[in-house]
């Protein structure tokens, strides 16, 4: 599924990284724990998280994750969005909960 389809499904706002919307996301990794993201992630999944600070973007950058989706209406500050832009990451935000997001993505064929 392309990032733009995911944004539409989840009614997510795009915060930066429009140029990446055509990219395909095969797998999804959902976690609020960056320790786990750093030690468990394989490939280049979409990161779904309720944590909202600059280290989410840094962590994504280190493990080659190119898109982060913030849940439950959380919006990163301007500095964090700037970092993401510099690192050529796509950031999205949705009002849906982590549970809803994972359910919808799973239903629509995304794997863990």
């Amino acid at each position: 599924m392309q990032l733009r389809d995911i944004a539409e499904l989840l009614n997510a706002a795009l915060l930066c990284g429009e140029e990446l919307l055509d990219k395909d996301v095969g797998t999804v990794y959902a976690s609020d724990l960056m320790s786990d993201v750093l030690s468990q992630v394989k490939g280049h999944p979409l990161l779904v998280t309720g944590l909202c600070n600059t280290q989410v973007v840094r962590t994504a950058e280190m493990v080659d994750i190119f898109c982060v989706l913030f849940v439950r209406g959380k919006k990163p500050d301007a500095h964090t969005v700037e970092l993401a832009r510099d690192g050529m990451l796509c950031l999205m935000a949705t009002d849906k909960t982590m549970f809803e997001v994972c359910g919808i993505l799973y239903e629509n064929g995304c794997d863990g």
């Binding site: 320790s35 030690s39 600070n53 280290q55 950058e61 280190m62 493990v63 080659d64």
Partner: protein, 142 residues
């Protein structure tokens, strides 16, 4: 150690969660530009970032030097923090002394040091209680 093609030095600010990771990010970008394989770049980035975060959350920041040679990338993370009492214990997955504040920021699961070990070819910890800790990571290029 082989002759360094590029030697880099970074200062890591104490207790600054906003800028933590800047050094690792810079190294990652430089390695990418040098054309190293994505897998090597990823291993260097993850293991250095874990070390950089540890310096911020467990010590009072410090200095990082990175030597990029023909045969290996050598990362030395040096802090003047409290030191590590029991290295074997610290190396266990799940062992952490991180504060509630650090945990609320998404870290402190006790996965960092094991992860640094996993992604490096060699890892050495020199630590003295009350003096500081130096972690050396070597990632071979071939």
């Amino acid at each position: 150690m082989d002759d360094a093609v590029l030697s880099l030095k970074y200062h890591v600010s104490p207790d600054d969660f906003k800028t933590a990771g800047e050094a690792s990010s810079d190294v990652k970008n430089k390695l990418k530009k040098m054309g190293l394989s994505p897998e090597i770049v990823r291993r260097v980035a993850i293991s250095m970032y874990e070390g950089e975060i540890n310096m911020v959350i467990h010590a009072y920041g410090g200095e990082i030097s990175v030597d990029i040679g023909m045969e290996a990338v050598t990362i030395v993370l040096k802090d003047k923090g409290p030191g590590i009492k029991d290295i074997d214990k610290a190396m266990e997955a799940g062992y952490s002394t991180a504060s509630e504040r650090v945990r609320s920021m998404g870290f402190g699961a006790g996965m960092g040091l094991p992860n640094m070990k996993k992604y490096s070819d060699e890892m050495k910890i020199d630590t003295t209680i009350g003096v500081g800790t130096t972690v050396t990571l070597i990632i071979r290029l071939c």
